[in-house]
Amino acid sequence: MKEEEQFHIQLKSLKKSYNGTKVLDQLSLNIRKGEFVAIVGKSGCGKSTLLRLLSGLEKPSDGQILIEQEQLMSINRQSCMMFQDGRLLPWKRVLENVELGLKGSLRKEAMTVLKQVGLEHRIQEWPAKLSGGQKQRVALARALIHKPSLLLLDEPLGALDAFTRLEMQSLIENIWQKHGFTALLVTHDVEEAVAVADRVILLQDGTIAQDLAIPLPRPRQRDHAIFTSTVKQILKQILDEPNQSVPDKSEEIGYQLNPIPKAVL
């Protein structure tokens, strides 16, 4: 197998700007098939933009996106996306939401994926009646039924409480191990990134500031020495960076941002 062929995604000096403001700048990145990559960074660093480019919702200003050696031109049909707010259709029941966009009723497949996310007993419920975690489970099932080869996760756990988040992290990890798709998780939670990903990429000002492999065995022990030191290392890099992309308003509002003391890190 040629080296190129093991890559699912290849980004070649990708650029994206909105009205002259650069969001992504000369971003080059290769992602292998079946790899779980987490992208971390401050808000405004371009991490969500990267996912939107990969889903085909937006087009790059310059550079190339290759999906399995082919340039991405329109909506990426083999990818599915999970959003922070779930985005279930409130006027469709759980089962109908999962079957959205599929031809005909795929009752059996829908039941299979709903079973995988542990919601097979609530198929006739309205989304409004579900908790935040359950909504994201439905969103995950809706993505899985399409058998995506690439799953894009745009901070899907950002709005959940701490316990539900831990539960969902291991659910996503298990499902990824079972299905073997390539996963790209955007998150602002460094610990979450280190807990689930093979590789953590730190984006700063639209470029890759760090690209770390996480060689820890799964399921990961959060109190493992390498685990904690990796989290610290990434956090240190994020916090040490002089704030360029986001204008610092801390002085205007009479509020001093205290960086976490060095001794802790």
Binding site: L57, S79, C80, D85, R87, W91, K92, W126, R142
Partner: protein, 260 residues
């Protein structure tokens, strides 16, 4: 035991004041405090209703009025609905038409009565035209606004999950706009009756408005009151229909769901 008593009480409570008023009205009329020339007793109105029903007159007038209302509503409603959908979906037609519609909307349609009489005469067309005009704008505005305010995140999601334009409209955009469209329908049903009341007093040979105007000529107070009550009843009826539609089509919505 307790909860059932509270529940029954809550069901009775809204009716206490109307019945009390009705009772006082009946009592004062029969005692001669309230002159029959000012306000006839409820029992007299009831007798008038029974008499007119037996002669078939009541049914005839209600039927004619209802026909005008429904025709006008269908014509104006469909125009408003289609315009709202098209302008909500397509930028070009929005640019072309919306400003003009918003401009026309600000003319009180009842102010057009002299013009409408000159255009259509005093026949059925004038009345139906006025009703259609009154109904058009509330439906247009709420349909247009409903389509415009559909969550763009859901539309984006639909695109990612492979919905084409038609299924995007039927699965995401239309259901998302439906609650606003129903508000428009409810509002325009009210508008429909108000317009009809005024339009029917212009000049007619049938209808509830005619019944009231005719009764005025002969000082039949009970028939006048009966006509007013008929309008109130029909208005309430259309409100119940609108409410029923909301409960049926918006049952996914926590604030419209029927309490179990």
């Amino acid at each position: 035991m307790r909860p059932t008593i509270t529940k029954t009480l809550y069901e009775i409570l809204p009716w206490v004041v109307p019945f009390l008023l009705l009772f006082i009205w009946q009592l004062t009329s029969k005692m001669g405090i309230l002159s029959a020339q000012t306000l006839p007793a409820p029992s007299d109105v009831l007798i008038a209703a029974v008499e007119l029903t037996q002669s078939g007159e009541l049914f005839h007038h209600v039927w004619v009025s209802l026909g005008r209302a429904v025709n006008g509503f269908m014509i104006g409603g469909s125009i408003g609905f289609i315009l709202g959908i098209v302008n909500g979906l397509f930028r070009t037609s929005e640019m072309l038409i919306d400003t003009s519609v918003q401009m026309l909307r600000n003319i009180p349609h009842l102010a057009l009565i002299p013009l409408v009489i000159l255009w259509f005469g005093i026949g059925e067309e004038a009345k139906i035209f006025l009703v259609a005009l009154g109904v058009l704008f509330p439906i247009y505005i709420n349909t247009y606004h409903g389509i415009k305010s559909v969550d763009s995140g859901l539309i984006e999601m639909g695109k990612i999950y492979g919905l084409n334009k038609v299924s995007l409209f039927f699965n995401v955009i239309f259901p998302g706009a439906l609650s606003s469209i129903l508000v428009g329908i409810r509002f325009s049903l009210g508008m429909m009756w108000i317009t009809l009341i005024v339009a029917e007093t212009i000049s007619s040979t049938a209808g509830i408005g005619y019944m009231a105007m005719n009764a005025r000529e002969f000082m039949q107070m009970d028939v006048i009151i009966l006509s007013i009550l008929l309008y109130a009843f029909l208005g309430k009826l259309s409100d119940i229909i609108a409410r029923f539609l909301e409960q049926r089509w918006l049952k996914w919505h926590p604030s419209y769901a029927k309490q179990p």
